[in-house]
Homo-oligomer: 106 residues x 2
């Protein structure tokens, strides 16, 4: 298989933990930090570090919810994040479809 | 989107550089180290390091070709590597198909 479509994958989204975060956020208007951590089974250090990379790339925005006894960090996939994720999934589809045409054979 | 299929992706193959290596090797009986490096535009250090990880996981085998003026390292996707790549592509297909059912929307 020509590796070209693989080389074009966005490294920020492709990394497994970040792909899991973006996938989870794509399905909800927002998720609290705690819900996200529990859903993905990630450590605080790991989740915080990957959220920071996604935030710096403009793909995720974080905000403190107020009006509750304990303020929570809310995580939202930004418009740019939704676009980037849609584009990424299109690239995966292209990779899978090339494979269907040229399956790896011995 | 449920992040479950993402969490099941094999980290050894999913990493972008290794995915590119495996994709390239899946299309050929073997590739020389030099051809692989030129095809993927990787540095020696980067390619050597990722090939070592793939070799240690049993997905790629390396051998020295003989009988030439300058012996070359030949890289081959092992049977286990072909199986793992086929399985990985099936997982990508599952992720894309879940997305088709629940596209990320604002």
């Amino acid at each position: 298989m020509n590796p070209e479509p693989v080389l074009q994958l966005d490294r920020v989204i492709h990394e497994k933990a970040r792909l899991a975060i973006v996938s989870a956020l794509s399905a909800a208007p927002s998720l609290s930090y705690t819900d996200l951590r529990n859903l993905l089974g990630m450590t605080d250090g790991n989740l915080t570090s990957h959220l920071r990379i996604l935030q710096e790339a403009g793909l995720v925005s974080l905000s403190k919810s107020t009006g509750e006894a304990r303020p929570q960090t809310q995580c939202v996939l930004s418009d740019a994040g939704r676009s980037a994720f849609t584009e990424y999934l299109g690239q995966l589809e292209q990779i899978v479809s090339r494979f269907r045409k040229n399956p790896p054979s011995p």
